[in-house]
Symmetry: C2
Subunit: 184 residues, 2 copies
Amino acid sequence: MKKIGVFENVSIDGCFAGPNGEIDWFKSIEKDEDFEAYTHGQSKGGSTLLFGRTTYEMMKSYWPTPQAKKADPAMAKVMNESPKVVISKTLKSVDDWNNVRVLDDINAVRALKEESDITILGSGSIVRQLANLGLIDEYQLVVVPLLLGAGKALFKDVKMTGLKATEARRFGNGVVVVRYAAAD
Amino acid sequence: MKKIGVFENVSIDGCFAGPNGEIDWFKSIEKDEDFEAYTHGQSKGGSTLLFGRTTYEMMKSYWPTPQAKKADPAMAKVMNESPKVVISKTLKSVDDWNNVRVLDDINAVRALKEESDITILGSGSIVRQLANLGLIDEYQLVVVPLLLGAGKALFKDVKMTGLKATEARRFGNGVVVVRYAAAD
């Protein structure tokens, strides 16, 4: 069986976005060589990338651009070349980014998981749905050292026991990355 | 200047209690020698303990009992002998536990902080108020590896930047302890 992993920036208070979807606070992460080496090491490719529509639209508006390719060539290559799947009932055309297909039913992820490892970035609503279906194997949380006070909670209405931290790493910029494995 | 530190059990989704104040999920923490040595090392005494009324009532119903003294003699000694302060506008009598006084105004904590180091346990509403007053120096979060799905968020409506993780430690029982320092 292949694995589904989640990679998320979250605030200390557990939000993946502000009340209106704001993610500008990601930029507050201070430059740190160890942290950058770590996050790059986590995105070596080989997985199918899975998105909800909102995250997909954001990713697609950035990664194919010359600025993205200049700012982070290795990550841009992974993002642009990896197979990508968007879960959406409304999105029709995805021919404006390389190697993308649309699935209109979250349950189709079961079959997708038979085919390949899957990594979910952002896409809070997809994370919650798949968590509640018991399909996620690992949660990797990049805890940005701030409190939003209000926002979109990553695990809203997700109730789960049997999780176990398998890694916790602190970086010089005050960020902590925690990796949780779900119960089998 | 003395320091105010917070020591809290929280779920991965950032709750310090369930929707109705439930803390029975603390008991899901698996026995682990390293974890117990660590938490005991954090409670050596010397601080004034600060509580809200709800947490105070819970603490007082447990720590002076023979069961508590038998189950955890060192912690019971710290809890029973340390100076304790309850912030409450309604509580009158505190003569049923050793070394307790009541303050009816959260702003009185400023003067208290001139006198001695303060540790807050539980008491989510007090934590939020003091955080918003900029009076808390350190947050030590014991992240219990489960998702409550709903509950009392420790940092509800607290907005804060400039925090920095100064420690992150994972234990064999899947618990992670993260310590955050507030900006000066």
